[in-house]
């Protein structure tokens, strides 16, 4: 069991309060009523669409979604229709967090004034990495800080994919986007390393007691985390890794393979932070080198071995923080 990370403060854990959620034991046990139905213009093999579907499966009927601008707004709602069988509202890319705060506050007010006696809804903001880590960061931070009973999900396809793959703060080092094309001056494409959004939310928002990362390649884990987050009273945050065939330049059938590879190489880690205590959910038995992940995607096609080494060093430092730094077995 990895020890609590330093930046969270070591005396934090008192009790794990996530209870009363209905656990999904395996795929066969998963709910089968779709609230994110077929009929949306996302790409063939869209990772974020699968993340949305799994979230909607887990959250169920009594849910309100807010969708900041991004792929999961534009592709889903073209021509005045949307694929949600639950209420959904479009928000600007800047203010997803503010809108769900408002929805939550109004439900609380209606309950206080005895104008609503139904069950309190699951209020979920399903924002892209731009709508949560970049343009939408202030609304996310405000929402988490004020302590609303909401779930903010960042589906991370590591770019502004809706507008044609521009770089975002979540784009990994070395990725080719239309804003970071590799050339003679900047041969690696993107020069900077991405933000760590989960850490940022966890470290700066004491009201948030449940945070988790998830990946669409681990659907049961993802659905359980959504349920845990919704069962928790108070602001919760999830960061879902959602590979994008268009932006990352791989075949549409490989979406889940790339998701798995990300976890196996350490480019993505599955863990949750409950009351300040870190729990790693899955540690790959045989860690793969980052080079394998890099070779599988067109966006890294220009990387030299030295650049891949830099990426590997970055991944190693991230894994060391979580206590997952095991040597890569020789092939």
């Amino acid at each position: 069991m990895p020890e609590t990370i330093k930046w969270l403060g070591s005396e934090a854990p008192t009790e794990v309060r996530i209870e009363g959620y209905q656990e999904i034991k395996n795929v066969k046990d998963a709910p089968d009523v779709e609230y994110y139905v077929p009929g949306h213009r996302t790409c063939a093999g869209c990772g974020p669409a699968l993340a949305y579907r799994l979230t909607a499966l887990a959250s169920g009927k009594n849910t309100i979604f807010a969708g900041p601008t991004g792929c999961m707004y534009v592709a889903n709602t073209s021509y005045l229709c949307g694929p949600w069988a639950v209420p959904w509202i479009h928000t600007q890319i800047t203010n997803g967090g503010a809108v769900i705060s408002g929805i939550e506050a109004s439900y609380k007010a209606m309950i206080r004034k005895k104008k609503y006696d139904g069950e309190f809804p699951n209020i979920i903001c399903f924002a892209g990495d731009g709508g949560s880590a970049d343009i939408g960061l202030q609304a996310l931070s405000g929402c988490m800080y004020r302590g609303h009973d909401v779930l903010f999900i960042c589906y991370d396809n590591e770019s502004y994919a809706n507008t044609g793959i521009q770089t975002s703060p979540m784009t990994p080092y070395g990725a080719h986007t239309t804003f970071t094309p590799p050339g003679p001056v900047v041969p690696e494409g993107k020069k900077t390393f991405p933000k760590d959004l989960l850490k940022m939310v966890a470290a700066g928002h004491p009201a948030v007691k449940y945070l988790a990362t998830a990946s669409i390649a681990y659907p049961v884990d993802l659905m359980n985390k959504v349920r845990k987050a919704l069962a928790h009273k108070g602001p919760t945050f999830m960061h879902i890794h959602a590979p994008c065939p268009k932006g990352w330049a791989f075949e549409s059938s490989k979406t889940l393979d790339i998701g798995k590879l990300a976890v196996d190489t350490g480019m993505w880690t599955l863990y949750e932070i409950v009351n300040g205590q870190v729990k790693v959910n899955y540690a790959p038995r045989r860690r793969k080198p980052v080079a394998e992940y890099v070779q599988a995607q067109g966006r890294f096609g220009h990387l030299t071995p030295e650049m891949t080494e830099r990426l590997q060093a970055f991944v190693d430092s991230k894994l060391a923080e979580l206590g997952l730094l095991v040597p890569i077995p020789a092939v």
Partner: protein, 362 residues
């Protein structure tokens, strides 16, 4: 009627992202060559098609006119005299002949015969206006592209054409709207592929061609038909009727129901919720009834494969998994994740049924 008597409109149908560069190469090079030959030209993309999504059927346009173009700011080609399709599944999924000028030509990039393509357009009201069908195996562009490839705001390098060059050669041969010499002069590196397209394109005159056909015109030229602005919100386990996505599909998942153990891994992995597990006999019967109510979309009477493998109908055969072919985009995740490999991709064109003509209302 075209906007202008001498105006030639060219529409290229392609798959979003994966063939975006290819389509633009065709329209841009065609316009470029025609300009060199002294015509007034335009080349542009349709924006409302959402070209930014993988496999979405989209259009790219070119206009060629000997005199100045009268309406340069009309943003769609309403009456193309040449329609080019970068794959034959587009002919199955979209009404590519919509608005075609009498005497128009259809060129399709496919390995199959022109007769086959003609069979695919048989049900279209505009088929009598189509004079010629041509096919050419120009190779495929269905490969993952690099981010600078088919995406907006990007630039393309000239002289790297392959499939586009072959299609351009075919266009020069079949329509003669530009000469092969001009095309070759513009892109010398692609000369070989252009000559290949010019030499190997197969043409067929449409036996149903009727130069005096006006039957379909009345429906065509009301600029916009009935527009349903409000699509009802979907119900749980329903679908969104405003976005029927079956025409994205190039390959269809066919489930071997005998091997399938109903492990639900394909079900949980489908981004489009197109896979349904058949629970028991009662549920299967209900599902089969629902499948038939879909309007013959996945046609149980499909000659090519047994009805059960076709994904629709027949609960009696012990099927465990049903594929919703009205919405399946053919992304391939299901046949990739299946642990028993009992889902196989089959070329969409191998099925006689499953024709989904999608015309967007706006």
């Amino acid at each position: 009627m075209a906007l202008q008597p001498n105006l030639i409109e060219v529409t290229v149908w392609y798959r979003g992202v994966v063939e975006g560069r290819l389509a633009r190469q065709v329209t841009n090079s065609l316009a470029d060559a025609a300009q060199t030959e002294g015509s007034y030209v335009q080349a542009f993309d349709n924006y409302t098609d959402l070209p930014d999504r993988v496999y979405v059927p989209c259009r790219s346009y070119a206009r060629i006119c000997p005199e100045p173009i009268a309406e340069p700011y009309t943003y769609v080609n309403s009456n193309p005299s040449l329609v080019v399709c970068t794959d034959a599944a587009l002919v199955k999924g979209c009404n590519v002949l919509k608005g075609i000028d009498p005497g128009g030509t259809l060129i399709v990039n496919t390995r199959r015969d022109p007769e086959f393509v003609l069979g695919l357009v048989k049900d279209l009201p505009q088929k009598a206006r189509l004079k010629k069908v041509a096919t050419l195996d120009a190779g495929t562009a269905h490969q993952p592209n690099t981010p600078q490839g088919g995406i907006e705001g990007s630039t393309e390098k000239a002289g790297t054409m392959r499939t586009a060059a072959a299609l351009l050669g075919a266009i020069a041969k079949v329509t003669g709207m530009v000469s092969l010499e001009t095309l070759t002069k513009k892109a010398p590196a692609a000369a070989e592929m252009m000559a290949h397209g010019y030499a190997f394109v197969r043409e067929l005159a449409n036996p149903d061609y009727d130069p005096n056909d006006t039957a379909s015109e009345a429906a065509e030229f009301g600029r916009r038909g009935k527009v349903d602005l409000i699509v009802p919100a979907p119900l749980p386990n329903g679908s969104q009727e405003g976005h029927i996505t079956g025409n994205y599909r190039l390959q269809r998942p066919v489930v071997d129901q005998k091997i399938c153990t109903a492990c639900k891994i394909c079900w949980v992995s489908c981004p489009d919720a197109c896979i349904t597990m058949v629970k028991d006999d009662e549920a299967a019967a209900a599902a089969a009834a629902a499948g038939e109510a879909d309007g013959g979309l996945d046609g149980g009477a499909d000659g090519a494969v047994p009805a059960a493998a076709d994904g629709g109908g027949s609960a009696a055969t012990g099927e465990k998994v049903k594929v919703n072919l009205k919405y399946c985009k053919g992304c391939g995740i299901c046949w990739n994740v299946c642990p028993l490999k009992c889902i196989k991709p089959v070329d969409e064109l191998d099925f006689a049924g499953g024709v989904v003509r999608i015309t967007y209302s706006i």
